[in-house]
Symmetry: C2
Subunit: 154 residues, 2 copies
DNA sequence: TATTGTTATACTCTATAACTATA
DNA sequence: TATAGTTATAGAGTATAACAATA
C-alpha cells in the first residue's frame, strides 16, 4: 500500500466525511443553497422569500390579521410589523382596520401584490426544479415526502 | 357535499399546503428540528453543535491551524477565535504556536476534549437515529444520499 | 383586565476593518 | 509586503419589554 498521507479530496472541499455526511450539516447546507437561490431568483420581483411566504399565506384563504399571519408563519409579531411595513411600502399589501375589532389590522394583498405573487411563485417553482434536477422525478417526490414526514409527522 | 368553509386542518398547524410543502420550508424546519435536538442532547457534555464540529475536524486528520479549521468549516476566522477561546476555556483544546511558523496556532484536542468528542458523537448519533425513526432504514440511507448529492453534487 | 399593533431595546450571529507579531 | 491571530465595531435577524388604542 502507498505510504504517506492519503487525501481522498472529494467534493466536500476537504471536509472529512464524518462531518460532511452528518444530517445536520447536509440539511443546513441544502437549506442554505435553496435560500440563496431563492433570494437571487426573487430579486427581479423585489421581494424576499419570507415576503413571498407572507403574500402566499394572505392570498391562500380567509383574510388574516397581522398576528394571525405571524403565528402561522412562526414569526414574532414585532417582526411581522416590519414585514408588513416593508410590503406596504412596496404597495403589495394594504392594512385595513377590522370594522368588527378595530385593534386588528386585516392585511389585504393588492392587485400589484397578486401579480408579484404569481411572478414570484413561478420563479420559486423553477428554483425547486433546478435544485432537484440531479434527482429523477420519483426521487424528488420521495425527498419531499420524507421531509414532510419528518417535519410534520405525516 | 358539505357546505361551508372546509378546514382540512392537518398537522401543518393551519399553514396552507402550498407553503408547508415548499422545499425551502421543509428543509428549514427539518434543519431547525435537528439543530434544537442536537443542542439539547449536547447540553450535558457542555458543548454546542458547532463546537462538536470543530472537535471532530481537529481530531480527524492532520493538525490544523485556526484559520485552516475556519476555512474548512466555512466559519469566519474572527468567529473561530471566539470558538477556540471558548473551547480552550473548557480545557477541551489547547493552542500551540507552530514552531515552523510562529504566526500560526496549531489547535490540539486535549484528552478531556477527546473524551467529550466521543461522548458527544454518541449523543449526536442518537439524535440522528431518533430523527429518522419514522423512516425505514433504507429510506434513511436514501435521504442522506439524496441530500449529499444535492449539496456536494456526488 | 386582556389583546393588537407598535416602538424601543437587547441579544445573538456574522461580517468588516484595523492592529500586532511574525514571515 | 503579506499573513495568522486578535480586537473592536457594525450590521443583520430575532426576542423581550413597555406603551397606546381598543375590547
Amino acid at each position: 500500500m502507498p505510504s504517506g498521507t492519503e487525501e481522498p479530496e472529494q467534493s466536500t472541499g476537504g471536509l472529512p466525511t464524518e462531518l460532511a455526511y452528518r444530517l445536520g450539516y447536509l440539511l443546513k447546507h441544502a437549506q442554505q443553497l435553496v435560500h440563496e437561490r431563492t433570494a437571487r431568483a426573487l430579486e427581479p420581483v423585489g421581494i424576499s422569500g419570507r415576503e413571498l411566504a407572507v403574500l402566499t399565506l394572505l392570498t391562500a384563504g380567509t383574510p388574516l390579521s397581522q398576528q394571525e399571519a405571524a403565528r402561522l408563519l412562526s414569526i414574532d409579531r414585532t417582526t411581522m410589523v416590519a414585514m408588513v411595513d416593508e410590503l406596504e411600502g412596496k404597495e403589495l399589501v394594504a392594512r385595513h382596520p377590522d370594522p368588527i375589532d378595530r385593534r386588528r389590522n386585516i392585511v389585504a394583498v393588492t392587485d400589484a401584490g397578486q401579480a408579484a405573487l404569481r411572478d414570484a411563485t413561478e420563479r420559486l417553482d423553477k428554483v425547486e426544479r433546478d435544485f432537484l434536477a440531479r434527482l429523477d422525478e420519483r426521487d424528488g417526490h420521495r425527498l419531499r415526502k420524507m421531509l414532510s414526514l419528518l417535519v410534520f409527522g405525516d
